[in-house]
């Protein structure tokens, strides 16, 4: 099962390597990991996507909680939540295909953020699956480069992961 875990962690040097080290030492997998400071500069927020059966996920959350610098965490997959990932994708777009690409960007509510004679850079945001679908629809041979942020997540409803 895929799980998306949000973590509030002390914004201290080394905190990220504690999390990364925990996963490699215990053989858990990390599908993606994003980190940035929060509005409170002493705290960072991580969003971590991992996979495992129930027992493994239980261990992962317990081991994360055991790290001294982890302040709080929430397994977003336990409830309704919103996930967004951002992608920048560079596509070949020679004459004759430019309209087709523009249509695709429109359908996926993307944005063209850079144009040259024969390329586009497109920004797309959405669930990871939507980004996968965009890449598929764009045809493999026209893709020059893909950059993805890894998902961010937030729980639906009034409750927030706060101190």
């Amino acid at each position: 099962m895929r799980h998306i875990i949000s973590i509030l962690i002390e914004n201290e040097s080394g905190a990220l390597s504690r999390v990364a080290g925990l996963f490699s030492a215990r053989g858990y997998n990390i599908e993606s990991l994003t980190v940035a400071p929060t509005e409170d500069p002493t705290l960072s927020r991580m969003t971590l996507v991992t996979r495992g059966d129930e027992a493994i996920i239980e261990q992962i959350t317990k081991q994360l909680n055991k790290l001294v610098e982890v302040v709080k965490l929430l397994d977003l997959s336990d409830g309704p939540h919103i996930e967004r990932e951002m992608m920048l994708i560079k596509l070949k777009a020679e004459n004759g295909r430019r309209d087709e690409v523009a249509r695709l960007v429109d359908i996926f509510r993307g944005k063209v953020v850079d144009v040259t004679d024969n390329t586009f850079v497109i920004e797309v945001t959405g669930k990871s699956a939507k980004l996968d679908a965009f890449i598929k629809a764009a045809h493999e041979d026209s893709v020059i480069e893909v950059v993805r942020s890894g998902p961010l997540g937030i729980a639906r409803g009034a409750k927030g992961l706060k101190l």
Binding site: I9, E10, S13, G14, S17, R18, G21, A25, A55, E58, Q59, K62, Q63, N65, K66, V68, E69, V70, V71, L163
Partner: protein
């Protein structure tokens, strides 16, 4: 009061009530050593290798419950200390290790004697710190000692760049009275609902077993444990790390469990309907094949560390909290309930256990004419009246010590259980002896293990530590040889310890007393003589049967009910 960083380091140790620091100097810690030199409250014990410093601090901690402190220099000093840090980590021992670091402007430049100590130790510490500013020293020390000793204890490393301890930069010093960390709040009390549920299960049990581990000792919960176990009248078994929390000579104690545990303990584990695990972590040496583990049991598990619960074995009633407080609450709930266990069923259960006991699984050949290692441990037990502190190394001798020295008190049996570190015994013994001057401290060791930290004999001389080293000399890495005999058709690949030193001369050259004993009849007299030398370290080279194996044994992949009891016997 204005102090330099180096003086602040020493002052922090005083504030924490630290009596001994085990250490070894070097460039990065010279300012600290200079500050040490100018005071006398904190005593420094100069070891001969940094591994010895960490093991000695560890032995001090295990035998007292207070945090052990070690001080080493950067680079090789820190890497030499890593084995001792990992040893303490695996057994959750409170320890604070101060490591020197190159001056902060040089960090990251591959400077002389630079290693990334925080990075290297990260996976084997409870937490570690790199101090970047002299103004952070006091608060960091306060946190480090708090972390090391609270919750599930463990070693904490403080890495201190040399410039931070500069004697020329003085700042006002005050030690924080309180420590609060928003990200660290260990549980202080167990959930009462869960405790009541556990008590109900215990009262309904027909074949209950207590299975206790090092957590009982770490939390000083032996009194509560003894009261609860006696009140209920259930059998109790212990892990290697838990020995002594419940008196080993008591009739309710059915011996150690696991790979080299007793037949009665392992069979009781297999048949139990209600397992009460306390401060134990279901280690693979204890559980045997997980698929066969306690097939009929409802499992209650008390532990301070939530991540220990349901890690290897799914439990039915988890209780997260300090063992002493949870057991205290259990006693109260039990007393208020006015209920008692199912006496007829428990009576039958004991009948069954006594039948298993009747196999006398620990018996060995008493008439062979050569000293059996078991006999040596039994003799030690008699001579010390069962009241010595015993530290050990790792191997067969460790298992024989655990099986044959019946510990009646906690913190008397000091060994590296989790990491299984050869070389632990002697330096750990130094820490124990310093903490308990005047007490008998025996180091049970093997001729392979003792050579891993043999240099500490000099430390023992310098500080007059009258350890009694009982070397069970079988000429082999016995535990390795045993596995090669069983599982590699007797191909003894590199397990014969060739070119042994003359241990008597060796100890004499360090200024100690050496003895060699070869006959069973001479052993007791020699040991009495050794222990009568109250102020001398005596190194007893006891020549034991080179072919003896540790039984009973559960081989890999087998369950508790599939033990091998003696050579050639069928698995039962």
């Amino acid at each position: 009061m204005e102090l330099s960083g180096a003086e602040i380091v020493i002052q922090c140790l005083k504030e924490e009530g630290v009596e001994y620091v085990f250490g070894y100097p070097g460039g990065a810690v010279l300012h600290i050593y200079d500050a040490l030199f100018q005071q006398s409250d904190v005593k420094h014990i100069l070891v001969r290798h940094e591994q010895g410093a960490t093991h000695a601090a560890d032995g001090f901690a295990r035998s007292t419950g207070k945090p052990g402190v070690a001080l080493v220099t950067s680079g090789p000093g820190a890497t030499n200390a890593v084995t001792g840090i990992a040893t303490a980590y695996m057994d959750s021992i409170p320890m604070v290790v101060l490591t020197g670091q190159v001056p902060s402007p040089f960090i990251g430049s591959d400077a002389f004697q630079e290693v990334d100590t925080v990075g290297i130790t990260r996976p084997c510490v409870k937490h570690n710190f790199l101090i970047k500013d002299v103004r952070d020293i006091a608060a960091t020390f306060r946190k480090a000692f708090y972390l090391a000793t609270s919750g599930r204890p463990g070693p904490v490393v403080i890495d201190i760049p040399k410039d931070v301890t500069d004697p020329n930069i003085k700042i006002p010093f005050s030690y924080p009275k309180k420590v609060k960390m928003r990200s660290y709040n260990p549980v202080v009390k167990g959930h009462l609902g869960q405790i009541k549920k556990a008590i109900d299960l215990m009262l309904a049990a027909e074949k209950p077993v207590f299975y206790t581990g090092g957590g009982v000792i770490l939390d000083n919960a032996d009194k509560e444990l003894v009261e609860l176990v006696r009140m209920l009248g259930f059998p109790i078994t212990s892990t290697l790390m838990g020995l002594g929390a419940y008196p080993g000579t008591d009739k309710q104690f059915i011996g150690m469990l696991g790979m080299h545990g007793t037949y009665e303990a392992n069979m009781a584990m297999h048949e139990t309907d209600t397992l009460i695990a306390i401060g134990a972590r279901f280690d693979d040496r204890v559980t045997g094949q997980i698929a066969h583990f306690c097939p009929n049991a409802t499992i209650i598990h008390i532990d301070i560390d939530p991540s220990s619960i349901s890690k290897n074995v799914r439990v039915d009633v988890p209780i997260v909290g300090p063992v002493s407080s949870v057991l205290g609450d259990m006693l109260q709930v039990l007393k208020e309930s006015n209920k008692s266990p199912k006496s007829a069923a428990i009576h039958n259960w004991w009948k069954q256990i006594d039948e298993w006991r009747g196999k006398r699984c620990l018996q060995y050949d008493q008439h062979s004419g050569i000293i059996k290692p078991q006999f040596a441990v039994e003799t030690l037990y008699r001579v010390t009246k069962g009241d010595a502190f015993v530290s050990s190394d790792v191997g067969q001798h460790q298992m024989f010590a655990a099986q044959f020295y019946q510990f009646d008190k906690p913190r008397r049996w000091i060994n590296s259980g989790g990491l299984g570190t050869m070389g632990f015994g002697l330096p750990a013994g130094m820490g124990i002896q310093l903490a308990h001057p005047g007490s008998d401290v025996a180091v049970i060791t093997g001729e392979a293990s003792i050579q891993m930290c043999i240099q500490e004999l000099a430390t023992c001389k310098q500080y007059d530590l009258p350890l009694k080293i009982i070397l069970l000399n079988n000429g082999y890495m016995g535990m390795v040889r045993q596995w090669q005999e069983f599982f590699y058709d007797g191909r003894y690949s590199h397990s014969y310890v060739d070119s042994l030193p003359d241990f008597v001369k060796l100890s004499e050259s360090y200024g100690h007393v050496g003895m060699k004993v070869e006959k069973p009849d001479d052993l007791e007299g020699a040991m009495k003589e050794a222990f009568a030398m109250k102020d001398r370290l005596v190194f007893m080279d006891v020549v034991v049967d080179p072919t003896e194996n540790v039984y009973p044994m559960i081989v890999a992949g087998k369950g508790h009910h599939e033990m091998q009891l003696s050579p050639g016997s069928e698995m039962i």
